[in-house]
């Protein structure tokens, strides 16, 4: 049901927030994108767009992209749901460990999965060839689906777990006291309540997988997708208009899925009455269901463990699977001056970007759901542009926009922030990319959660005389602090592991770890790739843990269930 927002004019806090958000979005994404779109009107660019369906090759690339995105979004959401449901509703030992293992793929650096999967399941894979004497070809659609699903399902898992935990068990109880079977309750109560979560996850996974560049580059084989084609256009044909044309095509499906998701989730959105659940959720007891859920969980978890074991092991042996003698040479090489500066710069910049991205995402979510009456869809979309646009396009957009000061009528409105000649050696552009690329995750989980929380809680605060800012700080933020936490963690991990836009923005002053990984993957030095991935993972875990602790400290006081009702 749609809830009416208060009919009064926007308060001052909302106004400021709105102007700020729009300004930030404009410089962080719209302007670079506009530049790209201007380029796409040039002949080579418009040729791509106008021939999208008549040219057999372009049509194929378009279809490849859609097929990949839909498969990964479907499988990833499904897996994420199964894992989240098992976590929330099935009693078994080792739950905590399982939860952590499921989150680990979020912090997987680019290339870690792809390389490890080839080592394990490739044609000369340790498992496929070593155990089954089987030589599957992973280069192409199959490998991409496998790797992308494994990499991205945790996004769905996090989203859905958060929602499952905030569902009010009283609803289940009501269902069962009316005589419904557990299966029926699952079907008619639980699932419908999760629809915004499903839609949100599907959208995120779809966009992430069609925009992914690192994996198609390394195991895409001859399965060309729009992102890799746009990259080729820029780096091979030196043709930015052509790349802009492909990027435009990439924007369309993202836009489409986004609109469908909005319409669909809006219609079916069910607001749970309370802010926080009280009581204990029902537990799955059916043998069959338990067996199914636990075996899927077990299989997936072992797979993740196996992949990471490969990454870690691969860092400590000469050439894993070929020359398995223990060595520290990879680390010695990396820490002998090769990666030190990159470790420092990457960590520092990601730490700068993380809180900004987390709060920015939440702010948009709050404005979209609670405050903005007309144009909230547009605002939501603007906020999501950061991941709807493939990283390569953002990178190039930044490079052509921010390598010079931005001038309007001869007046500098934004300084040069990208490139080696910019202030701080181009670091600001990288932080900007980190923010715009990682805030959408916070925004989505914030939106999913806010859709479930009754606005009357905030309205109560407002009617007691609190200002908009005070309400946001004291009521809304605590309510969505879970989502904020996941948003922050995601922002940090995402920043640390972002590659495609960064390629165009690293400068001699600022070198970034993921770019170092790419350099080593390029040379086929898997040992160094694995060692760099290990370093990156350890960094993310340590700092992510600290963020977690920090946010939890602020969260403690609000953990009491909020007493509400209508």
């Amino acid at each position: 049901m749609a809830l009416k927002r208060s009919g009064t004019k926007y308060d001052i806090f909302t106004k400021i927030a709105l102007v700020l958000v729009v300004a930030i979005v404009f410089f962080l994404i719209i302007l670079p994108l506009l530049n790209i779109l201007i380029y796409s009107t040039q002949p080579t660019g418009s040729a791509i767009i106008t021939n999208a369906f008549s040219d057999v090759v372009i049509r194929q690339i378009l279809w490849n992209t859609m097929k990949l995105g839909l498969t990964v979004a479907f499988l990833g959401t499904l897996l994420g749901f199964i894992m989240a449901y098992t976590q929330a509703r099935v009693e078994f030992r080792g739950k905590k460990v399982l939860h952590i293992v499921n989150l680990v793929p979020i912090i997987s650096p680019p290339f870690a999965f792809a390389t490890a999967v080839i080592v394990l399941f490739g044609r000369s894979g340790i498992i496929t060839r070593g155990i089954f004497d089987w030589r599957p070809t992973l280069y192409g659609y199959t490998g991409l689906v496998l790797v992308l699903t494994l990499s991205f399902f945790p996004i769905a898992y996090m989203n859905l777990l958060g929602m499952l935990r905030s569902l009010d068990p009283a609803l289940d109880e009501a269902g069962s006291s009316l005589g419904a079977s557990k299966w029926r309750i699952f079907r008619t109560v639980t699932l419908p309540l999760l629809i915004p979560g499903f839609a949100g996850s599907f959208l995120l996974l779809f966009i992430e997988s069609i925009a992914d560049l690192a994996n198609p580059l390394i195991i895409g084989g001859n399965y060309t997708v729009l992102a890799s084609r746009a990259y080729m256009a820029i780096n091979g044909d030196y043709d930015i208009p052509m790349a802009a044309g492909y990027s435009f095509l990439l924007l369309l499906p993202a836009l489409l899925v986004f609109l469908v998701q909005r319409y669909w989730a809006q219609r079916k959105s069910v607001v749970s009455v309370t802010g926080k659940p009280s009581g204990r959720p029902t537990v799955v007891t059916s043998r069959l269901a338990r067996f199914f859920l636990l075996s899927v969980t077990f299989l997936l978890t072992s797979l993740i463990v196996l992949v990471y074991a490969t990454v870690v092991l691969g860092a400590f042996v000469k050439i894993i699977g070929v020359e398995n003698s223990f060595t520290l040479e990879h680390f010695r090489y990396l820490l002998g001056g090769f990666a030190n500066a990159a470790v420092r710069a990457t960590t520092f910049l990601a730490l700068m970007a993380t809180p900004l991205a987390g709060i920015f995402g939440m702010l948009i979510a709050w404005l979209v759901i609670r405050k903005v009456r007309r144009g909230s869809e547009a605002l939501d979309f603007l906020g999501m542009l950061g991941i709807a646009v493939p990283g390569t396009v953002i990178g190039i957009g930044y490079a052509i926009t921010y390598n010079d000061p931005v001038k309007i009528g001869g007046v500098t409105v934004f300084p040069q922030v990208a490139g080696g000649a910019a202030i701080f050696g181009g670091a600001i552009a990288i932080v900007m990319v980190y923010i715009i690329r990682s805030s959408p995750a916070g925004q989505r989980s914030g939106i999913s959660l806010l859709q479930q929380i009754d606005p009357s809680i905030e309205e109560a605060s407002a009617s007691l005389g609190a200002s908009g800012g005070r309400t946001f700080r004291l009521v809304t933020l605590p309510l969505i602090s879970g989502a904020l936490l996941s948003g922050l963690m995601y922002a940090f991990a995402h920043s640390m592991t972002t590659l495609s836009p960064i390629i165009f923005l690293v400068t001699p002053d600022i070198s970034i770890l993921t770019q170092k990984i790419l350099a080593e993957a390029d040379q086929g030095r898997y040992g160094n790739v694995f060692a760099l991935c290990c370093m990156l993972i350890v960094l993310i875990m340590v700092i992510g843990g600290l963020i977690n602790l920090l946010v939890r400290r602020f969260q403690v006081s609000t953990d009491r269930p909020l007493v509400t009702g209508r």
Partner: protein, 385 residues
């Protein structure tokens, strides 16, 4: 005079003397070395902050005009990272100029240079096949610079107008996994046509000519060998049936090759050699019909902020001292262009390899169109199957 007073006096006068000397000495050391005799052609020396290059004038070795370097030098570096680290480190140690670099593949490098054309972020671009430098010249991102050391190099190693100068050379070869060859019942290929054998189906890897200078060298080699672009595209179409995947970077296939994902790859032989030295079961072979080669170029970036340091860096990269760093410290076994640089047994013996008559200029001029053709008619068609 008491003894302690004497010591104090002695110490004081020593101090005054040394201060005087400190004031006078630099003036003395900073005398211009230009024109004075030096020992080895191409050698780069820094004395009191001024960097000189030893050049040959009318048969005599003497220092060219010195450059007083300052600020930092930003290098765009295309070969493997380790080489970039060692080269920039050596230059910094020699001149005292802070030298920073980033590594980008040749296609990315051109894109970056074009994107920052109005406000150059790099001073010098080093390494990568010179047809990409020629693309750079055509795109207007390079400035000519004729190093005094050029005179030592063979004509093929330098651009007549000075837009690029060769620092190394590499020959394209076949890099094969010995275990996989055995399994497939094949010998290391010795002809381009060997690669068309149906047994190789899905067992060959090479980089994509779009992003990789290596792969473009392979493509242009077919044009030279078969006589026309059409014939080259036809060959690539046939070869495409056996290709498992096109990698982004030239040396990219060595990883999967070492693991035995594929049997054979098309790479520069020095990349294969480096992989062998890391313990991969690989072997290098060459096509008897002749193979293509790259000349790794170095070029001055147009509008470089620190052009003086960039020029000194180019001089340095051409010196025997700098070129010896590759094989000694950076697992890089390209053939070196300075005749005084040391030969390393791990480099290709050019006497045993047939080279095609490869002209980078023609290759560079044809690049954009031919790459687009390859993409449309070969790589993308296979994905449309």
């Amino acid at each position: 005079m008491k003894r302690s007073k004497l010591i104090t006096f002695g110490a004081l006068s020593a101090l005054v003397f040394s201060m005087l000397a400190a004031v006078v000495a630099p003036a003395d050391a900073a005398r211009d070395l230009k024109g004075s005799v030096c020992a080895q052609e191409g050698q780069v020396r820094t004395i009191s902050g001024v960097t000189y290059t030893c050049e040959r004038v009318n048969g005599n070795l003497q220092y060219a005009a010195g450059r007083k370097l300052s600020g930092t030098l930003n290098v765009l570096c295309t070969p493997q990272e380790l080489w970039c680290v060692e080269m920039t480190k050596a230059f910094q140690a020699k001149t005292g100029i802070t030298t920073k670099f980033i590594r980008l593949s040749s296609g990315e490098a051109v894109t970056r240079l074009v994107a920052s054309k109005n406000n150059p972020e790099f001073d010098v671009w080093t390494g990568g096949p010179n047809d990409s430098h020629i693309s750079g010249r055509i795109q207007g991102v390079l400035d000519p610079y004729k190093s005094p050391t050029r005179n030592m190099l063979k004509a093929q190693f330098k651009d007549a107008d000075g837009f690029w100068t060769g620092i190394y050379m590499g020959a394209l070869g076949f890099c094969s996994n010995t275990n996989e060859l055995k399994r497939l019942g094949l010998k290391a290929p010795t002809s381009w046509n060997d690669l068309l054998n149906a047994k190789y189906k899905g067992n060959i890897m090479m980089a994509h000519p779009g992003t990789s200078g290596t792969a473009y060298t392979a493509l242009w080699s077919q044009v030279l060998r078969l006589g026309s672009e059409d014939a080259a595209i036809d060959y690539m179409k046939d070869l495409n049936k056996n290709i498992l995947s096109y990698t982004r970077s030239g040396a990219g296939p060595t990883g999967p090759l070492g693991r035995g994902e594929v049997a054979t790859g098309l790479v520069f032989s020095h990349d294969c050699t480096a992989a062998i030295l890391r313990g991969n079961p690989l072997v290098v072979s060459f096509p008897k019909e002749g193979t293509g080669f790259e000349i790794g170029g170095i070029a001055l970036v147009k509008g470089a902020r620190n052009a003086d340091a960039a020029k000194a860096y180019i001089d340095f990269s051409l010196s025997a001292e700098a070129q010896n760093i590759g094989p000694a410290k950076a697992e890089s076994f390209q053939i070196l262009t300075n005749p005084n640089a040391k030969y390393d047994r791990r480099m290709v013996n050019l006497k045993k390899v047939t080279l095609l008559n490869y002209e980078a200029e023609a290759a560079g001029v044809a690049a954009v169109k031919l790459k687009a053709r390859f993409d449309k008619e070969v790589a993308l068609t296979s994905s449309a199957k």
